[in-house]
């Protein structure tokens, strides 16, 4: 099968849908001839024109509000936040409006919008362009939250997000844009709420999201050399969360390490850990659950410190060994 980068998979998923459905359109800053800050939309304005690839004023609140308004009245907008950090400016429309309108209209209104946005650190973009704030939106009833880790997942999950009649926050990891995997040419959908086992194993379960899936895979390859068999579960969507797959895995291995890039305190890892603590898998645990996440400081504008601020492969290896008392 042909390979596609993560970035190309985002573009292809949108383009395929836009060719079929005239109601789908895109709004964002510099997404026209410039192709977006990361080049995701390059070539799209040429194909779809400026009415469907809306190069907007610098106004995140405006973009989000326009998305809510148009979605509520029959369009299917995709909005791009140039950096996910700027969701702060769009949050009123996302949290107080998009998330609640279906409920407040007694099920008669719907807000089928997708918020696509690059997140995460590792590109030297400093404190206000490197955050992972997915736990914020995961906390809000009414929103769905997606964090794909591979090009294949991107294409299928974005299709599902565009088809969904609820607002979906779709996090793209900046460092993953250039990674590639095999991606079918035709459209396909990966249901939101279906985790993927990225590696099977028997000794320890690692639940990892986005970029951490790849770090966990590296760690697992190292650990294998020492005879430690690691299973890696990629939830893919935080909301809805595929609790069943995680519980099954932990029941099998008896050990759990949760790793994400977001600050550990208040991060989604806490939700996964407590979900396991409340579940039948608790009885199978042979060691305390371990959580890995970012330090409680902004992302430094310094390549070495930036790495030190978020979990790295050796940290994952150590955490796995700790759960095994090694």
């Amino acid at each position: 099968m042909r390979e596609l980068t993560y970035l190309e998979a985002v573009r292809e998923a949108m383009s395929l849908e836009m060719r079929k459905n005239d109601d789908v359109f895109l709004m964002g800053e510099d997404i026209g001839v410039y192709g977006g800050a990361f080049g995701v939309t390059r070539g799209m304005i040429e194909e779809f024109g400026p009415e469907r690839i809306r190069n907007t004023p610098i106004s995140e609140a405006g973009i989000a509000g326009a998305a809510v308004g148009s979605a509520l009245t029959g369009m299917r907008p995709i909005m791009e936040l140039q950096f996910s950090d700027f969701i702060t400016i769009a949050l009123d429309q996302i949290v107080n409006q998009a998330a609640k309108l279906r409920y407040m209209y007694g099920g008669k209104g719907k807000v089928p919008m997708v918020v696509r946005t690059p997140s995460g650190s590792g590109t030297g973009a400093a404190a206000q362009h490197s955050q992972s704030l997915e736990a914020w939106v995961a906390h809000i009833p009414g929103l769905k939250v997606v964090q794909p880790s591979t090009a294949y997942d991107v294409k299928g999950l974005l299709k599902a997000a565009m088809d969904d009649d609820n607002p979906v926050i779709f996090y793209e990891h900046k460092l993953l844009y250039k990674t590639s995997s095999e991606v079918p040419e035709e459209e396909y959908s990966i249901p939101l709420g279906k985790a993927d086992i990225k590696r099977e194993g028997t000794d320890v379960t690692i639940v990892a999201s986005a970029i951490m899936v790849h770090k966990a895979l590296e760690a697992a390859a190292e650990l294998e050399k020492e005879g430690i068999s690691v299973e890696i579960v990629d939830p893919r969507t935080l909301v809805p969360l595929d609790t069943e797959t995680i519980i099954q895995s932990v029941t099998k291995t008896g050990r759990l390490v949760v790793v994400h890039e977001a600050v550990k305190r208040g991060g989604f890892g806490g939700e996964i850990a407590s979900m396991i603590a409340e579940s039948e898998a608790f009885d199978y645990l042979d060691a305390p659950i371990k959580r890995l996440g970012g330090i409680s400081a902004p992302i430094p504008y310094n390549p070495e410190l930036e790495k030190a601020a978020v979990p790295q492969v050796p940290d994952i290896i150590n955490a796995v060994k700790e759960t095994l008392n090694k």
Binding site: E29, D30, V33, G35, I58, S59, G62, S296, L305
Partner: protein
């Protein structure tokens, strides 16, 4: 409803571009010529030349990996330095990411500006007497903050103003309107400067707003607005001086739109302006260059010579060399530094993290 069309047109048409010095270096508006001594006029030129050199060197240093984040300034010298020259040491500056020159002329040591660019914490530790916030990265945020700074100044009865700069793109943010309206409601001593360099990264000014001028956006906030030739350092100076006087006299804030251009890329982080700008447009603006026209003007008054200019260039290069050396001597940042800055007193939860990293760092 012809009356509506009439209102918009009559408002928009009142915003003529304020100019004093034309492209040929000739005074076209004697009445508004600011009272500046020969020494002050020369100092303005000195600053513009120095800042142009600083820009060229900063771009080179960035390419060599010796500077971090950098947003080029060439083309905007009159807009940045003309407005700054009208201010006083006790005024408060709220610049955007491109406005490092104003900070330097306000007294921020060059090596600290370099450290800021490198993301070193020492770059953010401004000297006590430099009344400024550091360059804003989040578009528009400085506008609302300026309202707060101005309210503080007013409450304390200080003879000072809060001055903030953003770009044309920044005027689309809610913060832009909210900041002007807020400051205007209290007649707080604030000056809002929108440096209209024609583009917000790739987006041309006309796509940002249907308004004919950005200056007219002041009207809705009930404050004064003026559009200035941002390549004319005397006009920018005079407009800012006027705004400062009004603010100090309790007449409230002013919005100043400066028409300018950035010759370089948006930032040094991978922008290619040929994707959205033509060579013709570039050369059209280069003809309006603020240094060329002011040099002509000064030469006409026998106030400037090639030797003087060469000396400024030399001085700038030496200062930059020294400042880079000094920046290189800053101690390496550690994770424990970063954790230590988080709160005034380290909370218990961070204490554990601090100890963990102290142990790692002492290895």
């Amino acid at each position: 409803m012809t009356i509506l069309k009439h209102v918009l047109e009559s408002v928009e048409n009142q915003f003529e571009t304020f100019q004093i010095l034309n492209e040929d270096g000739k005074i076209v508006n004697k009445a508004d010529m600011p009272e500046l001594s020969d020494e002050e006029l020369k100092e303005l030129m000195r600053r513009m030349v120095y800042t142009r050199v600083l820009d060229q060197r900063s771009i080179a240093l960035n390419r060599q990996g010796r500077l971090g984040f950098y947003a080029p300034t060439a083309g905007q010298e009159a807009s940045q330095l003309g407005s700054h020259f009208a201010l006083e040491k006790e005024d408060y500056l709220l610049p955007g990411y491109r406005d490092v020159p104003q900070l330097i002329w306000q007294g921020l040591p060059l090596h600290q500006a370099f450290l800021w660019s490198r993301g070193h914490f020492a770059g953010g530790q401004f000297p006590e007497d430099v009344r400024a916030l550091f360059p804003q990265i989040i578009i528009g945020a400085q506008y609302v903050q300026a309202a707060g700074v101005a309210l503080g100044i007013k409450k304390r009865g200080k003879q000072a103003v809060a001055v903030t700069w953003t770009g044309d793109g920044g005027t689309s943010q809610g913060d832009f309107y909210e900041g002007m309206n807020f400051a205007g409601a209290y007649k707080a001593p604030a000056i809002f400067i929108a440096q209209n360099n024609g583009f917000a990264i790739s987006v041309p000014r006309e796509k940002q707003s249907s308004a004919k001028t950005l200056a007219q956006k002041a009207i809705a906030a009930g404050i004064e607005g003026i559009q200035v030739d941002g390549m004319d350092v005397l006009a920018v100076y005079a407009a800012t001086k006027h705004a400062r006087n009004r603010a100090i006299n309790g007449e409230g804030p002013t919005l100043i739109e400066t028409l300018t251009y950035r010759y370089g890329p948006h930032t040094m982080s991978g922008d290619d302006p040929t994707r959205y700008r033509s060579d013709e447009l570039n050369s059209e603006w280069e003809k309006k260059d603020p240094l060329i026209r002011f040099r002509k003007f000064l030469e006409g008054k026998k106030l400037w010579s090639e030797e003087e200019e060469a000396k400024v260039i030399e001085d700038a290069k030496n200062d930059i060399k020294e400042a880079i050396k000094k920046a290189d001597q800053a101690p390496k940042q550690k994770v424990t530094d970063l954790i230590g800055f988080m709160y005034e007193e380290l909370p218990v939860n961070l204490q554990a993290q601090m100890e963990e990293y102290q142990a790692k760092e002492s290895k």
